[in-house]
Amino acid sequence: MSAFLAILVVGIGTYASRAIFIVALAGREIPEKVLTALDFVAPAVLSALVIALLIDDAGNVSMGWPEASAFGVGAATAYKTRSHIWTLAVGMAVYWAVRALI
């Protein structure tokens, strides 16, 4: 139930972020400084998430060679191909391969 409530809250918040200017504030400008900050939300939050998802129950970041090499090769693949499918395929392959080797 609490999971559903979390989904509902994020759902309402997501709709609100998509609707706010279209429904309510049409014609008003977002201050330049806010736009500048919003532009950095995606890289900052996503990279914080990458680390947060590797934190184990003891509060340690479980990043070894398999994770680090998969991120490195995955980032290079994303840069070269701009394709999520290739990033996923190559990154996971590296992750499994390195994990099997050590």
């Binding site: 997501t14 200017f21 900050a37 919003l38 950095f40 939300v41 996503l46 998802l53 509060g59 394709s83």
Partner: protein
């Protein structure tokens, strides 16, 4: 102004044709999301309900992964909301276009304002309102049906995948891909590195609260660099 049937069909067909190439890259996201729901311990139907209720892959993956890994409820919700904050920019960018639309569409349209729909519609600001509405609704509906079905497919595949594969690692890996593709200026690289580094330093905070500290630090540093470049 109403459109004749032939024009309507042509617009709808164009919207579907435009949407498909943008859906293909989203397939792994939807499948991984389905898998993550099956591994999170959250009821399948509740997990799947995030697709129609949130309808945004990155926020859904964030929320479900964090809830499944024992993050505090409030931190998981905050992270999910922050991930989707970029939509405010889309809303502002399309507001003038929507001004010429009927009220019902101004309320309905934002529900399907995905990254992809924004990308398709933002390049057609001059289009006649009825035609734009037709295009937007068709593209939105195409993405909606696609997303709900492929996430459901991921739920079916999920239990079949052996847990030793640790497919949950696909989530941070996908986020790395998203960061790289989204970088269009060097301060964003710094923002990403600071976001990751600070989260690492604060990893010991309870309930993964370091996530929010890292995210805020990344935005702040990016903002300060950008302000000083002017």
């Amino acid at each position: 102004m109403s459109l004749d049937v032939t024009t309507k069909r042509a617009i709808s067909r164009q919207a579907v044709i435009d949407a498909i190439p943008l859906e293909i890259p989203a397939i792994p996201f939807a499948l991984v999301l389905g898998l993550v729901i099956t591994e999170s311990g959250i009821d399948y139907l509740v997990g799947w309900s995030s697709s129609p209720l949130i309808f945004g892959g990155a926020a859904q993956l964030t929320l479900i992964s964090l809830l499944g890994s024992g993050t505090a409820w409030i931190a998981a919700v905050a992270a999910g909301l922050v991930v989707n904050a970029r939509h405010v920019m889309y809303s502002a960018a399309l507001a003038p276009t929507f001004q010429r639309q009927p009220r019902w569409f101004r309320w309905l349209g934002p529900y399907t304002l995905l990254d992809q729909v924004f990308a398709l519609v933002s390049v057609r600001p001059e289009e006649e309102p009825a035609a734009l509405r037709r295009y937007y609704l068709t593209a939105g509906a195409t993405f909606w049906i696609f997303w709900q079905s492929v996430v459901a497919l991921g739920l079916v595949i999920g239990p079949v995948v052996p847990t030793e594969w640790n497919l949950a690692f696909a989530v941070p890996l996908m986020f790395v891909g998203l960061i790289v593709v989204g970088i269009n200026k060097w301060p964003k690289v710094v923002a990403a590195l600071v976001g990751a580094g600070v989260t690492y330093l604060f990893a010991g905070l309870p309930n993964k609260a370091g996530l929010l500290v890292g995210a805020m630090a990344g935005v702040l540093v990016g903002y300060l660099i950008e302000e000083n470049r002017r």
